[in-house]
Symmetry: C2
């Protein structure tokens, strides 16, 4: 075991992202990330399986958070209310991370393998949310559709959020996109 390093994980994430932006994802090695963060490569591998996981390490915390928010929403909430409510709460967690999120997305968008990885994480999140809804007694079809619709709203809101020049609030954009989805589907 190495000695304890204060916020090693956060430092590695930031160093990795800086290098991916400067040189590109392909051209960066884990040794360089560790060096930039002032840590050893061994410390890197205590926190992340590889250089790709630095970008996706936050997904499992996000998933746990969303699952517990959906599972603990009031019995009176409709399925889509549970899902959108959970995503809005998650949106608030992103508040201070817009610049980080923006850079991270630019790195992902520039690389097919990373884009595919991101999409599979979102698809698997939708399927987990649908399972949680089924566990709450929601039927198979409405559970799948509420989950897929929620993820669609999140994707659209997230894109607006990182491309917005002003001081947009992700939670508010999620709510607005959901209202727009209601208007769009009601029109069909």
């Amino acid at each position: 075991m190495g000695r304890w390093e204060p916020n090693a994980r956060g430092r590695l994430e930031q160093a990795a992202l800086d290098l991916y932006v400067e040189r590109g994802f392909e051209q960066t090695t884990t040794a360089e990330i560790a060096r930039r963060a002032g840590l050893t490569e061994r410390t890197f591998f205590r926190h992340f399986a590889d250089k790709r996981e630095v970008l996706f390490g936050g997904h499992s915390a996000l998933r746990e958070f969303i699952v517990s928010a959906v599972a603990s929403s009031p019995d009176s909430a409709t399925p889509i209310d549970s899902v959108i409510g959970a995503l809005e709460t998650v949106g608030a967690l992103f508040l201070v991370r817009r610049e980080y999120s923006r850079q991270r997305q630019a790195v992902i968008d520039a690389n097919d393998e990373l884009r595919e990885r991101e999409l599979i994480k979102l698809a698997s999140l939708a399927s987990t949310i649908a399972d949680v809804l089924r566990g709450r007694g929601v039927g198979d079809l409405p559970a799948s559709l509420a989950a897929e619709a929620g993820i669609a709203v999140f994707k659209v809101a997230f894109e607006r959020w990182i491309s917005d020049a002003g001081d947009a609030d992700l939670s508010r954009l999620i709510r607005e996109s959901f209202e727009e989805l209601k208007a769009v589907t009601a029109g069909g």
Copy 2:
């Protein structure tokens, strides 16, 4: 140029799928696919870039079809009507291919790389549909949401279709899933 082979493309697709089901995607080579189809490897490469593209070659025809159906829907159609209408028409094209679609999906679901590939094709289809809607004068946000909602409906309906034991009709499942999406979003 080799001699003309009747329906070489279809024979290669079926041979590839049979081998992927029997031996697994990883274990199959392009030489084996060509041999099983009674064709040369050279003919294989006239039709497909690699063994993965045999599974995804249909996507570009599907995309063109959907784009032209959305683009040519009546001016009075709402954005979601255009999208769902296009997908229903596409659903009818799948009628005779359920067994093929089911086997293809089993091969894809068994392999992370193929699943990621499938997801990126669907994400890119959603973004193309949104562009077509924007070209028809639909606003940025409703265009994105109508496209994402349409793809979500298609995914859910497609899963039901291939897992259905009876004689379900994909177009009808698309319509039903869309009605369910309307009910689900209206409830939020």
